[in-house]
Amino acid sequence: MTSALFLAEAVVAVPVLAAAGAAVIPARMVQRVAVLGMALTAALALGFGAVVLRVPNRPADGSWVALDALGAILVPVIGLVGLASVMLSASYLRTSTTSVVGPQRRERIYYVVLLVFIATLLAVPIAGNLALAWLLIEATTATSALLVGFSGRRRALEAGWKYLILTSLGLGVALLGLGLLAGGLPGDGWTGLSWHHLGHYAGGHNEALVAYVLVLVGLAAKVGWAPVHNWLPDAHSEAPPPVSALLSAALLPAVLVVAWRVERAIGPAVGPRSAQRILIVFGLASLAVAVPFLWQSLAWKRLLAYSSLEHMGVLALGIGFGSPLALAGVAVHIVGHALAKSLGFYASTPLLAHDPRCAGHAPSGIGRSAPGLGTAMGVSLGALAGLPPSPLFVSEVMILAGGYGSGHAWAATAAAALLALGFLGLAHALLEVLAGKSRRRTTAHPVDLGGVVALSVGATGLLLGLTAVAFSLPGSALVSALVRGAS
């Protein structure tokens, strides 16, 4: 067994074991076991990324595990965001009073479901078979829906229900596409849907195109691409903040990676330009839907949710453009978005303790009333807006330049205009957060900002480091592996 394969299996097994442990040990030890399990998982995830990136051009071999550059980028991101989410969950559970389960079992059930969710998330980008990836994505729906509605409040139940039904239905449509694809793969049935075998699709062009569209539309419902994004703003804004961070920074890109692999594998049968155009349409639609909301005065988590819609659109465009420069931009964007967005969601727990009205209103003047919290929110929002030196600025420029370079000038121009409008909306929100008029009237109780301030320092360092790395990516072995994809 290679070390990469061992790490791939361990990175999924450890959180499952931690969840099993958390289910049976005494209640006072549950949080400690969850943190320890996730710390080990994050270390394994980083190790997996390092080992696989040493040979990023590993060919797909038809097995159940994919050891490629995409997984090597995403698994460490999921591991780190998972660790931060588990660590910051204690503060959420302390401040939240309601839950969908009884108070005695509340903490245990939360951590068990959270660890199982993280384990399934980690398994998605290393699934070597489309059918297996589908099963894992469906499993993330079940676990994460429970977490979205965990508070048991009416709005959370509504968001969780909408998420559960819409994404399950979407995944049903994707499964129909899988069935059509499997029909065009000689002899092997469902097990023939490995990334390697998919490249040998032998059905007709029309069948391939319809199957591709069905799979992509189904996955789009889970990625949150417009026009099948309705659940996204609700689920992200109503879930507990550590779960919102995982949904946005880990779940959406994990499903997006599956869509990317589908595009790589089926593209030749569909016609590469057609396959790319569909992704570009999803990307532009997502940007067009998200941008007007970024101009509105929205509650913090809802603003971040619409920003996720915008960034998933940017990623769809990058994959659709398909040039090496655009794909390098996609790699940077996935990591940068995960860091900035998770920091933003983590800041919402102390934000609500600082000013409870921010649950339903746009935050204002936080930089004045709580400078530490304002800094964390400012770093997050500035990075998400693409304010230089944010790596998202570099990645967006790379994606747009890649679009022009690959002959998609009209789409790149439209995207540039929409991104500029989105930037203005988020920049306005940033100014409001940092220097707006503070609405807070009382200092009810001191807010613990230690965790989020430490995270904002760490995230700032990582974001700046990522900006530096972004400049060295074009022409690297990693990018050539991304261009090769699963073919």
């Binding site: 099963l135 829906a145 509504e158 229900w161 023939g192 069905l214």
Partner: protein, 203 residues
């Protein structure tokens, strides 16, 4: 593929679209799953095929038990009215099914008859979710789609694989359990399992 079996699946599926009572719809979906078990057993060639059929059977019985338990735990004073009248629902579902069979090309190697049945069941499932307000009918709509896809799995060249069948069974069971938790909580919070009441999140 056995023609009467496909017709039975389609008619039972259409029944779910039009019936008023939740318990009747649960019975129809269960009957559909049992027809699928019969189809799977009639096509079984290896031990793994028989195990895959057994997984389908376990799923059918487990869902029937779980959904009936839910119905009994969340008795409505009167059935939640659908957004659309039954004949219109049936018309919409049939129209959607015909459109799908017209739009989706089928591989020459595939069983056309069975695939048209698959597409009809997917259309009926989507129509059920779109036109019904009772939350339990949303779950039944998803089960209907999954039953259609189980039929698709059975009609592939290699048949349904044991791994995938077990995986789908596990996934769907997990999903239905979570949906059950939500359904019960929605019933407790809103006084009815009515998706029409879930309208507070708007921008």
């Amino acid at each position: 593929m056995n023609g009467p079996a496909v017709w039975a699946l389609v008619v039972l599926g259409l029944g779910v679209v039009v019936v008023r009572r939740r318990s009747t719809a649960v019975g129809l979906v269960t009957a559909q799953a049992l027809v699928l078990v019969g189809v799977a057993l009639s096509r079984a060639r290896t031990g793994n095929d028989v195990l895959a059929a057994a997984a389908l059977a376990v799923r059918a019985v487990a869902f029937a038990g779980l959904l009936m338990f839910l119905v009994s735990r969340t008795r409505e004073l009167r059935p939640v009215r659908a957004k659309v009248a039954a004949p219109v629902r049936a018309g919409l579902a049939l129209g959607f099914a015909l459109a799908l069979t017209w739009l989706v090309p089928i591989s020459p190697a595939a069983d056309h008859y069975a695939y048209q049945g698959v597409l009809a069941l997917v259309a009926f499932g989507v129509s059920t979710v779109a036109t019904r307000r009772a939350t339990l009918f949303h779950v039944l709509g998803i089960v209907l789609v999954e039953n259609g896809l189980a039929l698709a799995a059975l009609t592939l060249h290699g048949g349904s694989s044991l791994e995938i069948e077990l995986g789908v069974t596990l996934d769907l069971t997990l999903l239905t359990l979570v949906a059950s938790v939500f359904h019960e909580r929605i019933f407790a919070e809103f006084g009815a399992g009515d998706a029409g009441a879930l309208r507070s999140l708007r921008d």
